[in-house]
């Protein structure tokens, strides 16, 4: 039953974080007793999982396969294909592009971020629309546009060697495109990894058929031909995918007089400079960071849902300890914290360019200051956990990376008389004394010691011991 006293919340943005917020609210207030929620989204389609767009590119998923769960609540209404055009914080009202308006008690900005195109000739028209052959990779419409532009076997250029660019390049290569990738920084994933790691990573991409051009600036896009670089080379391309950075969508907030820097400024309660207006996800700017990755946005959604439903009014978002995990088939890369920690940290580095592997672990005060792990998938998850939780690292740093603990010293006693049959607690010495008492066959041994009568896993070991003892001392004749 939706009551009239329920608080009216308007969520602007039906992306990953806006939709997640609605889900978190519905979970805390399933009957809509406390909160009535309206989500408006500019895109025509139901909310979907933007993180999986490279998977759609690669053909692993259809567009319908990446939809987000729809909150099961009578008090949540989602309006797709509807954009907010103005936020009126005095009248507490959101004006929509269909001419209607929504009154709110609390407004939540979840408008995300849009692609930022670098000022390179030929990329975008004066109104900001991409030119022929050019697309960002932020939404399903971009995916469809790219699908129409590029064909398997054809050339595609990716501009921007950050996480999204690398994931897109890998997905396009998987689809059979010939991919070139251009990065203006000295190395790819400049913000997440150090140079030696980037060089090994570039090697992986080269082997996968992606030509990596680092520290190269594009000079112009020539539709139908390709991307011209500052050294005059032209990289052939039917399409240009621009993944060269994003810009928070802050227009509504700025227009409403709400404090904005490169994102909408929020405090630990995720309130903006207007206490009735909140911001979460990529459009928000929190002193603890976290924009650009989905996990912090989802944490913010949970915190704000706790606060606005009253489930936990004192919930706080204290910032993120983001771990970057490249989603590229066949490449295992994780990075976190400082990729190039200074001398106050102790650093363990393993570089194996031939094997395509690289690990760097920086520790300060027994805590992980940063790590870059390429081709070390098993320790990566454990190291990420220690980083996120600020947990102390084990004394054996190398073992943490290689996954091979130094042999424990306290197992000497057990080794002297190993247990053969776990199910019945029968040791080698027990078996030997049974043999000395005349048990020469497995049934004899089982009758005397019960070994082999549980899970049966020690049968081979018992047979081997018996064969050895019987062989060394054959049954007396007669």
């Amino acid at each position: 039953m939706v009551t009239h006293s329920a608080r009216r919340i308007v969520v602007i943005g039906n992306g990953m974080v806006g939709a997640r917020f609605a889900e978190e609210v519905a979970r805390r207030d399933p009957e809509g007793e406390r909160v009535r929620l309206t989500v408006v989204g500019a895109e025509d389609e139901p909310a979907y999982n933007r993180v999986l767009l490279p998977g759609v590119l690669a053909g692993r998923f259809g567009p319908g396969d990446i939809r987000l769960p729809v909150p099961e609540s009578p008090a949540v209404e989602v309006r797709t294909g509807t954009a907010a055009v103005e936020l009126d914080p005095v009248g507490r009202r959101v004006l929509l592009d269909d001419g209607t308006a929504l009154d709110y008690d609390e407004a939540v900005l979840a408008t995300g971020a849009g692609a930022a195109f670098p000022p390179i000739p030929g990329l975008a028209a004066a109104d900001g629309a991409p030119e022929d052959g050019v697309t960002a990779l932020r939404d399903l419409a971009d995916c469809r546009r790219l699908g129409a532009l590029a064909r398997p076997g054809g050339p595609v250029v990716v501009l921007g060697g950050g996480v999204l660019g690398l994931e897109a390049a890998r997905a396009l290569a998987e689809r059979g495109m010939r991919v070139s990738l251009v990065e203006s920084s000295p190395w790819i994933m400049r913000r997440q990894i150090d140079r030696p790691a980037a060089e090994i990573l570039a090697g992986h991409y080269t082997r996968l058929g992606v030509a990596v051009h680092s520290w190269r600036v594009a000079s112009r896009w020539i539709p139908g031909t390709g991307l011209e670089l500052d050294d005059g080379r032209v990289l052939a391309g039917d399409a240009l995918v621009v993944t060269a950075g994003v810009k928070a969508r802050t227009g509504l907030a700025a227009g409403a007089g709400i404090a904005v820097e490169h994102g909408v400024l929020v405090d630990d309660g995720l309130a903006t400079s207007d206490p009735r207006v909140h911001a979460i996800g990529d459009c928000a700017q929190h002193s603890g960071g976290g924009a650009g990755l989905v996990q912090p946005g989802w944490e913010q959604a949970a915190v704000l849902a706790d606060r606005l439903t009253g489930a936990c009014p004192e919930a706080r978002y204290s910032g993120a300890r983001p771990v970057t995990r490249l989603k590229a088939e066949g490449i295992e890369l994780a990075s976190m914290g400082e990729a190039e920690a200074d001398g106050t940290a102790e650093t363990v580095t393993i570089a194996d360019p031939h094997g395509g592997r690289y690990a760097k672990l920086s520790v300060r005060g027994e805590r992980i200051a940063g790590a870059v792990l390429l081709g070390f998938p098993d320790p990566a998850s454990e190291i990420a956990r220690m980083y996120e939780q600020r947990a102390p690292v084990p004394a054996d740093r190398l073992a943490l990376l290689t996954g091979r603990p130094a042999p424990a010293s306290d197992q000497g006693a057990a080794a002297a008389d190993p247990t053969v049959c776990r199910c019945n607690g029968v040791s080698r010495a027990d078996l030997e004394s049974a043999w000395l008492d005349g048990a020469r066959t497995r049934p004899d041994i089982a009758a005397a010691t019960r070994a082999t009568t549980g899970c049966g896993g020690c049968t081979r070991d018992v047979d081997a011991l018996l064969a050895g003892w019987n062989g060394a001392s054959p049954l007396p004749a007669g």
């Binding site: 996990q295 989603k327 098993d378 084990p394 776990r422 009568t453 549980g454 896993g457």
Partner: protein, 705 residues
């Protein structure tokens, strides 16, 4: 003396002979049977010791007040006293003032008669049982998905022909070793935070061990579904033809791409992909769950997430593949079917279903309106004892909640607040030691009845020995109490075969239909798997034609990941998870009294990574105090280099200061009312062995640092 029967302990119910041993005392020996294949673990081998133990109880014990010593009395005196007190409390405070706590260790006949006793002789709705702490999450999820819950809806030997078996939160190498004989050929994928004996066997056999952070199994299951779909391994035809609800379930899994599942669970993304590939490409695969995945405040959703994975791969309802949960207690299957559950009537019927009430009331010869409605679930029942709104008397059969209930310290306080605590047991368990009246009852080898094993297979338990003088069977106790409470003669028979015949009628037409089960069929060696609707029926494999929902389809559940009920912080930086060791069973009341088993594992231990131990100065063999937000337990440190550095393990077989459940969190699953046994936030401290009982008052944590 030599007769074939079944082991008294776990749900594998290994077949064994009980016969005179070398010194004349009863002894056990394994028997050939499809489930245990002639094997026994050391618990089975030593099971007979307690039959002749000087520690067993043979005289009713009573005392005037809790602080007094027990005195022996005769049966009439003890039963008169119990009946008078129960009747008095009921008259004064209403029927719900008296409560009953049963067990998944009781025979089908006892489970049935206990439920009937509560509803008719006591007229109370307040009955539940320790199976709520075992099987309730898997049962809720299985019922939701398939329309009925039979732990393994296929015979155990079917597993051997599979290529891959995934075991989620199950450690049969330790908990039911002879089962491993069926798992020798398949590649195993073991999901367990610990490097268990089963996990080691998986790795040695070319399989996988996935070690998620405790409480994150659902995220792993969602990640596996995601990875399977991304690799185009789903059985789309099966999903279309035999299931409903896939899209809504998938929408949750879509958010668990392997790298995200890795971040939540700690299981490396490439392992998730590999496990999905192994499962999805196997010719014959099974997904099996155990308590490790199920004993959570999100246990039902977690079990549902595993079932979703199995359904998406097209496994259930086909010969040679499937989903199952591995039932734990000896009669954990039968015990959850015949009415000792708060919300249930015999035949797996719901007590709030008018047709079910009408049927059962008809068999019982009463007006359906006389049957009480649903009562409190196990922890809620225990937590209400002795409170203003709660029961004032409790009758306990086959259970030891002072050790086995979550937040055991709190439960012990509630037990202490009762006006009357009556415990039927054959040893002085920790719960019996708190009672006003202790009734000495017969053991497994001294009574007949039926058990339903983990496959839903009916087994005949035989009376090999006479009970010692002064000992009565549980059925005799219920029968005698019912008569004293004014029930008509014959309504509560003490003869197990008479009870079975009535159970058959009461269950007829229900989900777990025992109508065609007879002692004669079992004695003749027929393999009876329920439903057994008539004299010829048996159902080794369920769902081959269709699932038990009206439309014949299995249902995906739209479940996500909610996480554990409590998290770590600076005061409680580690997670404790609980479980079993080979040599002990449940609360240990039986196995701690068997010399060989007590000798092998005499005391509680805490398994911990050497670094984690070293950080608080705990070396191998030191005594540690494990402290949670609820209480503390003492345990001897065992270093294990393979352990997760954020997780410690404590076995739950020990009592008092060493009870693991002093730590555990009674946060309940909203669907199954299962407590969160498997995740508690804890810290480790050095304990002084000279003064091991230093109390840790609740809330002292922050002040004490």
């Amino acid at each position: 003396m030599s007769a074939a029967t079944h082991c008294p302990y776990c749900a594998l119910q290994c077949a064994m002979f009980v016969e005179a041993g070398p010194e004349g005392a009863p002894a056990t020996r394994p028997a050939a049977f499809p489930t245990n294949r002639g094997g026994l673990c050391r618990k089975g081998w030593t099971a007979a010791e307690l039959l002749a133990s000087p520690q067993r109880l043979t005289r009713p014990l009573v005392r005037a007040e809790r602080t007094a010593e027990f005195t022996e009395t005769d049966w009439d005196g003890a039963l008169d006293r119990v009946a008078a007190k129960l009747a008095g409390l009921r008259a004064e405070h209403g029927p719900d003032a008296v409560a009953v706590f049963g067990s998944g260790g009781l025979t089908n006949e006892k489970s049935y008669l206990l439920g009937k006793f509560a509803r008719l002789a006591l007229g109370t709705s307040q009955i539940d049982y320790n199976g709520r702490f075992c099987m309730s999450s898997a049962a809720a999820a299985g019922t939701r998905a398939f329309g009925i819950d039979r732990g393994l809806p296929f015979p155990l030997p079917d597993l051997a022909s599979a290529e891959v078996v995934l075991l989620a939160g199950a450690n049969p190498a330790e908990t039911m070793p002879p089962m491993m004989g069926h798992l020798a050929a398949p590649r195993l994928i073991v999901v367990d935070p610990r490097s268990t004996a089963t996990a080691e066997q998986a790795v040695a056999g070319g399989g996988l061990h996935l070690a998620p952070r405790p409480g994150t199994d659902a995220a792993l299951a969602l990640g596996l579904l995601h990875a399977a779909r991304a690799q185009h391994l789903l059985d789309e035809e099966y999903i279309a033809a035999r299931t409903s609800g896939f899209e809504a379930a998938w929408a949750h899994a879509a958010g668990f791409w392997p790298e995200r599942a890795e971040q939540v669970t700690g299981v490396a993304a490439h392992r998730i992909r590999e496990a999905a590939r192994l499962l999805g490409t196997a010719r014959g695969a099974y997904v099996l769950t155990g308590r490790g995945s199920e004993q959570h405040a999100t246990g039902t959703e977690t079990a549902s997430a595993w079932i979703n994975l199995a359904l998406a791969l097209g496994l259930p309802g086909r010969e040679g593949s499937g989903y199952g949960c591995i039932t734990g207690q000896g009669n954990g299957q039968g015990g959850r079917e015949h009415g000792q559950k708060a919300d249930q009537l015999p035949g797996y019927r719901r007590i709030d279903d008018a047709a079910a009430r009408g049927h059962v009331a008809g068999v019982w010869g009463v007006d359906p309106a006389e049957l009480p409605g649903p009562g409190r679930s196990a922890f809620e029942l225990l937590d209400a004892l002795g409170t203003d709104a709660g029961p004032r008397a409790l009758l306990v059969l086959g259970s030891n909640p002072a050790v086995s209930a979550p937040d055991a310290g709190r439960v012990r306080n509630r037990l202490s607040a009762l006006d009357l605590l009556v415990v039927c047991d054959f040893v002085m368990s920790e719960t019996a030691a708190m009672a006003d009246v202790v009734l000495p009852v017969a053991q497994w080898a001294e009574e007949a009845g039926t058990m339903t094993n983990l496959e839903g297979r009916l087994l005949r338990r035989r009376a090999v020995l006479e009970p010692p003088e002064g000992v009565r069977t549980d059925l005799e106790v219920l029968s005698a109490l019912a008569r004293r409470l004014g029930q008509p003669a014959g309504r509560f028979p003490a003869d197990p075969d008479a009870v079975l015949a009535e159970l058959g009628r009461a269950s007829a037409g229900g989900g777990a239909d025992y109508a065609g089960v007879t002692p004669e069929r079992l004695e003749a060696g027929e393999e009876l798997f329920w439903p057994v609707a008539d004299a010829r029926a048996t159902t080794p494999r369920m769902f081959l034609e269709g699932f038990a929902h009206p439309d014949g389809r299995a249902r995906f559940a739209a479940v996500g990941y909610r996480g554990a009920a409590e998290g770590v912080d600076a005061d409680f930086p580690l997670l404790a998870t609980t479980g079993r060791v080979m040599g002990h069973y449940q609360s240990g009341a039986q196995t701690r009294r068997i010399a060989e088993l007590a000798g092998a594992e005499p005391e509680a231990f805490v398994e911990v990574h050497p670094d984690t131990g070293a950080r608080v100065g705990l070396g191998e063999g030191d005594w540690a105090r494990v402290v949670s937000r609820r209480g503390a337990t003492l345990a001897r440190v065992r270093h294990r280099a393979e352990a997760r550095t954020d997780t410690v393990f404590v076995p739950f077989h020990f009592g008092g200061d060493q009870a693991a459940n002093n730590l555990t969190n009674p946060a309940l699953d909203p669907f199954s009312r299962m407590p969160e046994f498997k995740v508690s936030a804890v810290r480790l401290e050095k304990a002084d062995p000279a003064d091991p009982a230093e109390p840790v008052p609740p809330g002292a944590a922050a002040a004490g640092g």
